[in-house]
Amino acid sequence: MKKSFGGPVISLDRADINTDEIIPAKYLTEATKEALTPYCLEDLKLEGFDPKGEKLDNATVIITRENFGCGSSREHAPWVLEVNDIHTVIAESYARIFRQNMFNCGMLAIELPKSDIDQLMLLEKDSAGTMQIDVKLDEQSIKATGSAGEATFSFEISPFDKALVEAGGWVEYADARY
């Protein structure tokens, strides 16, 4: 089933956030995705970030820098985002496995150039936590709206990744085709 995208934002202004930080290995013994819920971004090393804070709790969109999701292949990383209703990540770039895992789960890993991410992060900061992202997958555009203003950006997505998101994930897609 196709997921919903967009909503309130949390900005993680650091490059190379790895999947051990998103979900530490000690939780990989859980047998369900739902059991991961309380541990989202628990080991993230970032000044001022609180994994138990209201900001993360409210967010459904992450904005971040280069090479997001590097390291371990654990799909528990997108899952812990998914069970916390975060279906959209917007970053300068991704590690390959994490990016594929996002699309395989029918979630969105949007890539934007550094200048766009700079602008988004500035708007988020100036809007004092009120910024929302609206995703238009068909038009391949996102609109950011906050108390400090609004901005629209277009993004590229490969037709395959788009098909996975439309299908609701790779299992559905592959099962229908192979």
């Binding site: 190379d16 790895n18 051990d20 930080e21 530490p24 290995a25 000690k26 990989l28 013994t29 859980e30 047998a31 369900t32 995705k33 080991d43 090393k45 280069e66 090479n67 590097c70 390291g71 371990s72 292949s73 654990r74 799909e75 997108p78 770039s93 991704y94 590690a95 390959r96 496995i97 594929q100 895992n101 395989n104 789960c105 490969s158 037709p159 395959f160 098909a163 994930g169 790779w170 299992v171 592959a174 099962d175 085709r177 192979y178």
Partner: protein
């Protein structure tokens, strides 16, 4: 225009190209362990599709936490075990016969030049040492692999790394790959395969080549690939002698997978490693690399020798050569985990285990355990570990712990002095 090794393997395994740039490949191997597979199994059951595409091409092992440490890990092991029995997966390795996946599966001869393989484990890139295309994937890719025997990839781009000169005494494959990652950066090879060439690679054993390819992912690479040669054939010979009339015939067949001289690379890097000295990481990213000399004197609480990077027999020999006749510092806990039962037995036969134990090391069964802070050597807040593993992320070996990556020789020397030490200075 010629082809790279990955391009040749892709062309030979192409099942479908649903969109330009997306290649769906047939898989020769789907490798499974107990951490990332059970949720795929549970999902297949929930979908009423509890089937496997080919039980001879699926190999499974319990390796991350073994023997099970609690009820949760016991359940993960049971789910994998029951599934393997249900589908008559012959090559399933349980307690006593199990070892670290990326050491065990090559040792069993499961990986051959030209093969495609996936596993729900990022260090699957290790198997490229055999001239194969092997990639780490998530649980959903693994699930589709188990069910359909296919996996989708973007068109591969290849970075060629030429390693020239000769390694000086006391410098190893681990030092080379740490140096290369330091040069490439942690995302320098994202969406790329790294092909290793040159006399330094040609002179390496398969153990050393696996160390090299194991860490391709730490530069973001999809797979590290070495060119199949007589060293590859010799390693595999006991498994392939029925297939080929002679080693020369096997070599000729396998060399079809070698990159063409006029292949197209996105980048070609030349490193003369003749002057390379032992390398160690600092900080929390594997591309933060300095020489052991620069970091010498840094105190450590634990030394860990093992893992899919450096838990093979060459690695244990290298460490034992430094430890022989020495004892470890009072301030240090030494842990060594031979990566497979056969490596363990070989180390016993060669007297290496005796050397480790006489030096004061705890010898554990083969397991991934401490590398990712799951068992058998988890760090406490503020503790520092000198480790032969592949990741120094914040909290990787235990919340609030710090990891310095290094070769088995540097780790052994560090355990003797209690501070980071270039083994050549002992």
């Amino acid at each position: 225009m010629g082809q790279t090794t990955a391009e040749k393997i892709f062309a030979a395994h192409l099942r479908d190209e649903p969109f330009a740039g997306t290649k769906v490949l047939d898989l020769d191997r789907v490798l499974c362990h107990e951490i990332t597979t059970p949720i795929a199994i549970a999902d297949l059951q929930w979908r009423e599709k509890d089937r496997v595409f080919d039980n001879t091409k699926i190999k499974a092992v319990i390796d991350h936490v073994t023997p099970s440490k609690d009820s949760k890990t016991a359940l993960q092991a049971k789910m994998l075990r029951d599934w393997a029995r249900r589908h008559e997966i012959k090559d399933f390795f349980d307690v006593g016969r199990n070892g670290v996946c990326h050491a065990l599966f090559p040792e069993k001869g499961f990986i051959r030049p030209g093969f495609t393989a996936i596993m729900g484990d990022s260090h699957t890139c290790t198997h490229g040492a055999f001239g194969a295309f092997a990639a780490g994937v998530g649980t959903t890719d693994l699930e589709v692999g188990i069910l359909k025997g296919v996996c989708a990839f973007r068109e591969p781009k290849t970075i060629r790394v030429n390693l020239t000169g000769a390694l000086s005494k006391g410098v190893f494959a681990k030092d080379v790959i740490l140096y290369v990652i330091g040069q490439l950066g942690v995302n320098g090879a994202t969406d790329c395969v790294i092909e290793f060439h040159g006399p330094v690679v040609e002179a390496m054993s398969m153990d050393a080549r696996m160390t090299l390819c194991n860490m391709a992912i730490e530069a973001g690479g999809t797979c590290g690939i070495c060119q199949p040669d007589m060293t590859t054939v010799e390693y595999l010979w006991s498994f392939i002698q029925e297939e080929f009339a002679s080693k020369e015939a096997a070599l000729e067949a396998y060399q079809q997978w070698c990159a063409d001289a006029d292949a197209d690379y996105v980048k070609v890097l030349d490193f003369d490693v003749s002057t390379l000295i032992p390398q160690v990481t600092y900080d929390y990213k594997p591309d933060c690399v300095k020489s052991a000399a620069e970091l010498s004197g840094t105190p450590v609480d634990q030394v860990y020798i093992g893992t899919c990077t450096n838990g093979r027999i060459d690695d244990l020999r290298e460490a034992a050569a430094i430890l022989k006749g020495n004892t470890i510092a009072d301030t240090v806990r030494g842990i060594v985990s031979p990566a497979t039962p056969d490596i363990f037995k070989q180390a016993l036969d060669e007297g290496l285990i005796q050397i480790f134990m006489n030096a004061g090391y705890c010898v554990t069964n083969p397991t991934c355990g401490a590398c990712l802070g799951m068992s058998n050597g988890v760090l406490s807040e503020g503790e520092v570990c000198a480790s032969t593993s592949n990741r120094n992320f914040n909290g990787r070996m235990g919340k609030g712990g710090m990891v310095h990556l290094m070769s088995p020789a540097t780790a052994a020397a560090t355990s003797i002095t209690g501070v980071i030490t270039d083994a050549r200075t002992l």
